[in-house]
């Protein structure tokens, strides 16, 4: 029996505004509990919501980035339920008229294939606070710092067919929100949270199977593992003659399993109705145009431009544009050194290697893009060889100074003076009579060995092209 997996993702993105969605409280992560909650966040009687316009700008920019319909008139609703970390007893969200309507984005798989994934909608809503169950001797602590932080809930169509596709979709979303600068996208801190609706069906069926919603997936890696585990569970269940029940399941990353959150799934009746304390949000074309004008170049456009403008391969362009900070780093390197291909190599191989090893982000790179650009420029103007450049790069990574400073201090400047090189070549010929003899009797491959000896003697500083030329002249004329 072959099975097909059907996945839809609901991604909550915490928008990185200075203040909350409907109150002036700060939104900084990690503050002392309840120090970022004002009278509205505490739901004191008589308090009223006031919309943070920056949230609207961010939501619209996301909508434009995925070519979505922008809701010209969006309406906030109250979603009613009781929970101690939901002070008002309702969450303000958008039900029928979200700010962002239907859109889509294109994901790329490892094998290079592309697929368009539909986005059903993205709506603005308030985050809840946090219930803290530890350290309170069986009681529960409430931290309302997060209560009212703006979220954009992005709901995909059930277009994803594997855990890998789900991860690619999530990575694409992550890349877009980072490009737009609307969230820090930090999954570990909960700035980006993912719920997955997973079902399976026999290949060829048109109806969807019964889905389970998996909550609490807080890393790209766990998304893949959680979905794969859930798919396996559902297939096993059906093949053993069982039935999948519609329910919410929690992913446990330590045990790598999902388990039912509620034994009996009681359908929650949230009793949505329009929030009477807020007027509908009306967005005109001028607002949309103004948002559009401030939007940065997005990954796909940047990638295409890197290919056409910098002559990079599509693959290199893809690697360099996956992350906005990386793309910007690369462009600074190019503008400093004037050689896009060398720059692409250095950034995607040497720099990324260095960062991966040190577990650092591009923003934390010990080598600035200007430094790396200068280094490449020194290769191009023959001040140093490519090999010596690696030494300089390592020294810069260790914080030993700027490019020219290190070259100077360590005496790494390439030797191009013909007189000095001639005596170097002479020394090699004198020291290796046997090899010279072999070469002259027609054994061409010995030539490489002799060049190597010359380079070694110069401690790598000799200009390899010039050494090559001089050595051949001397051997042929000798």
């Amino acid at each position: 029996m072959t099975w097909e997996t059907v996945i839809g993702l609901e991604v909550h993105v915490q928008l990185s505004t200075q203040s909350k969605l409907f109150s002036g409280s700060a939104t900084k992560f990690g503050a002392e509990p309840n120090t970022q909650a004002n009278i509205y966040d505490l739901a004191l009687p008589g308090t009223l919501p006031v919309m943070n316009k920056e949230v609207l700008r961010m939501a619209v920019s996301f909508g434009l980035a995925i070519d979505a319909e922008i809701g010209k008139r969006s309406v906030f609703d109250r979603k009613n339920y009781f929970y101690p970390d939901l002070p008002k007893g309702y969450q303000v969200s958008q039900l029928d008229f979200p700010t962002v309507g239907k859109g889509s984005l294109t994901i790329e798989m490892e094998d290079g294939t592309e697929k368009v994934i539909g986005v059903t909608r993205a709506h603005i809503e308030e985050d809840a606070g946090k219930s803290l169950h530890e350290d309170f001797q069986g009681m529960t602590g409430i931290d309302l710092n997060r209560a009212g932080t703006p979220l954009l809930e992005i709901v995909s169509e059930p277009d994803l067919r594997s855990a890998k596709e789900a991860v690619a979709y999530l990575k694409k979303l992550h890349s877009i929100i980072l490009y737009l600068g609307i969230s820090d996208g930090n999954m570990a801190q909960g700035s980006m949270r993912c719920d997955a609706n997973v079902s399976v069906r026999k290949k060829g069926e048109t109806e969807f199977g019964t889905r389970a919603e998996i909550k609490n997936i807080n890393s790209f890696r766990f998304v893949e593992k959680a979905i794969n585990h859930e798919v396996e569970r559902q297939i096993d269940l059906i093949e053993d003659g069982g039935r999948v029940v519609q329910e919410t399941r929690l992913y446990d990353s330590e045990l790598n399993e999902t388990r039912s959150m509620r034994s009996k799934e009681v359908a929650n009746d949230y009793r949505y109705f329009p929030e009477p304390d807020l007027l509908p949000v009306v967005i005109d074309d001028a607002f949309i145009a103004a948002v559009k004008a401030t939007m940065p170049e997005l990954p796909n456009a940047k990638r295409a431009r890197f290919v056409s403008e910098h002559g990079l391969s599509d693959y290199d362009a893809g690697v360099l544009t996956a992350d906005r900070a990386m793309a910007e780093y690369f462009e600074t390197v190019v503008s400093t050194c004037g050689d896009a291909k060398l720059a692409a190599n250095w950034v995607s191989v040497d720099l990324l290697g260095l960062l991966n090893k040190a577990d650092k982000s591009i923003a934390e790179s010990p080598v600035s893009p200007e430094q790396l650009g200068t280094l490449i420029a020194r290769i191009k103007d023959n001040t140093i060889s490519g090999k010596i450049a690696k030494t300089v790069f390592e020294a810069m990574a260790e914080g030993e100074g700027d490019v020219d400073q290190i070259i100077e201090q360590k005496g790494l400047k390439q030797v191009t003076d013909t007189g000095a090189l001639e005596s170097l070549v002479d020394e090699v010929i004198t020291a290796n009579p046997d090899q010279v003899e072999q070469f002259r009797s027609g054994k061409e491959q010995v030539f490489g060995y002799l060049v190597g000896q010359a380079m070694k003697l110069s401690k790598g500083k000799a200009n390899p092209g010039q050494v090559n030329k001089l050595l051949r002249e001397k051997l042929n004329n000798g």
Partner: protein, 482 residues
């Protein structure tokens, strides 16, 4: 002295016949003497009042007094105030002291008014008789056996009994106008969005509006000057240029077109009330007004649709009272569900619980379209009826209430009978229009008011009509013997 209007008191203060401190002390003395029997105040803020009065006297001495400087006021206990209790008439908030002040209170304080205390009200403003208050019923100063009306019953009784010079109230379905009628005073519910709701405890957010309860239309205009205006803290407040509500008080009524809704003057109208309304109409006609019938065909649907919309909004607005952060919390909850159930079960009174249940039901899956959505459609129809009527007339005139104040306990066994008390006033809230009540006579020594309804933002015209009527009659000057 204490029965004087705001305007009269201000000139007495200007002429140095009295000082704000003396005046405040005199009101405080009267409150101490009469409040135990009338129960109009939940909290009396004597110390703060005298301090504010001293400040007001200093401002007056500096020549910087405005029309409300040093005038003693009472605030409905629905407005949040720092330092003293804000109970909303509920056990749920029996211990609640707000860390912030309501916009209305702030503005009146800035205008120099002296706060005497916080007045009694139906619990969470849900009631038409002030009998649902956790702090006990308020007695009508005209007859202590009778209710003052509700929900702003404490404020209305305080103004009528000269326990303050003016008072604030709120009106969701008639809660300023009906008690004004029952107590023989003037009350105005402004256009929805005129007055900031910031700091006013919500009952039904799309209907609630604060307004003045006063001894004359002129006083109401002065209070409106202080409290109206946009507020960035209330997203539903209207962004309008400042308006002087006293500017048109003196205008002639020559050519005024008054509409009489056929639905308000049907055979069901109490004949005694009808006669007094006819007298009032004659006064207006003598001043140059003409009258004609207008049709409000959906008026009969206002009470049923109101009792879907208002409870629906209330059911969510009152969810925050959960015993977790402030307010009443039950003793020794065993778990979260117990905390919720007992805190809310013990903290809310019956009428509040009834409305929460009705509202929860109306919003439930499967019933939403039949109740909430339908009610919203009716609301639009009601608004359209008014819009159409106002194409032909300047103001609409009719009864405020079907009758005079009823006896305490007379109507609280059947909720629907009580709900029908607001049959003339509710449509005005659903349409978001300004409406006022002013006294036009007495039946068996009990006052009764007439209602004037204006088009959106038509407060100044309403106040003009009311003021001209009061210049030619003295019903608003009648005071109960207490």
């Amino acid at each position: 002295m204490l029965s004087k209007t705001v305007t009269e008191l201000a000139s007495a203060l200007d002429r140095k016949e009295t000082s704000a401190v003396e005046l405040t002390q005199a009101f405080l003395d009267r409150i101490q003497q009469l409040n135990p029997s009338i129960n109009a105040y939940i909290t009396v803020t004597a110390e703060q009042a005298l301090a504010q009065a001293a400040k007001a006297d200093a401002i007056r001495a500096d020549g910087k007094a405005g029309p409300l400087t040093g005038i003693p006021i009472a605030h409905k206990d629905i407005f949040c105030t720092t330092d003293v209790l804000t109970t909303c008439g509920s056990k749920m908030l029996h211990n609640f002291i707000s860390p912030y002040t309501a916009a209305v209170v702030e503005k009146l304080e800035a205008a120099g008014a002296v706060m005497l205390g916080k007045t009694n009200m139906d619990e969470f403003a849900m009631g038409s008789s002030n009998e649902t208050s956790h702090y006990g019923a308020v007695r009508n100063p005209w007859d202590s056996e009778r209710v003052p009306g509700g929900s702003s019953g404490g404020s209305a009784a305080a103004v009528a009994a000269d326990l303050c010079a003016m008072a604030t109230g709120t009106d969701t379905g008639g809660s300023i106008r009906q008690p004004a009628s029952f107590c023989g005073i003037t009350g105005l519910k402004p256009t929805y969005g005129r007055v900031s709701r910031f700091g006013m405890i919500a009952f039904a957010s799309s209907l609630d509006q604060a307004g003045p309860l006063t001894k004359s239309a002129e006083d109401a205009a002065l209070m409106m000057n202080a409290i109206a205006g946009t507020d960035v803290r209330d997203s539903t407040s209207l962004d309008l240029p400042a308006e002087d509500f006293t500017a048109k008080l003196g205008d002639s009524l020559q050519g005024l077109k008054v509409g009489l809704p056929v639905q308000h003057f049907s055979k069901d109208l109490n004949p005694a009330v009808s006669n007094l309304l006819q007298d009032a109409i004659k006064v207006l006609e003598s001043l140059g007004a003409t009258v004609k019938e207008v049709d409000l065909p959906n008026n009969h649907l206002s009470v049923p649709s109101y009792y879907v919309i208002a409870p629906a909004e209330a059911s969510a607005n009152l969810s925050r009272y959960d015993g977790v952060r402030y307010g009443y919390r039950c003793e020794d909850p065993v778990n979260l569900e117990d905390l919720y159930k007992r805190s809310r079960g013990e903290g809310f009174g019956d009428e509040v619980k009834r409305r929460i249940m009705v509202g929860t039901y109306a919003l439930s899956a499967g019933y939403y379209d039949a109740y909430y959505k339908k009610a919203q459609k009716i609301r639009r129809l009601i608004k359209e009826d008014f819009d159409k009527a106002f194409e032909d007339v300047d103001v609409i005139l009719g009864p405020t209430s079907p009758h005079t104040a009823f006896k305490i306990g007379e109507k609280n066994s059947d909720p629907v009978t009580m709900y029908l008390e607001d049959i003339y006033t509710i449509a005005v809230n659903l349409a978001g229009l300004p409406g006022m009540s002013l006294p036009i006579g007495q039946i068996n020594n009990l006052p009764i008011g007439m209602q004037l309804i204006g088009p959106s933002l038509g407060e100044a015209r309403l106040l003009n009509v009311a003021h001209q009527y009061q210049l030619n009659t003295d019903w608003h000057q009648q005071r109960p013997e207490v």
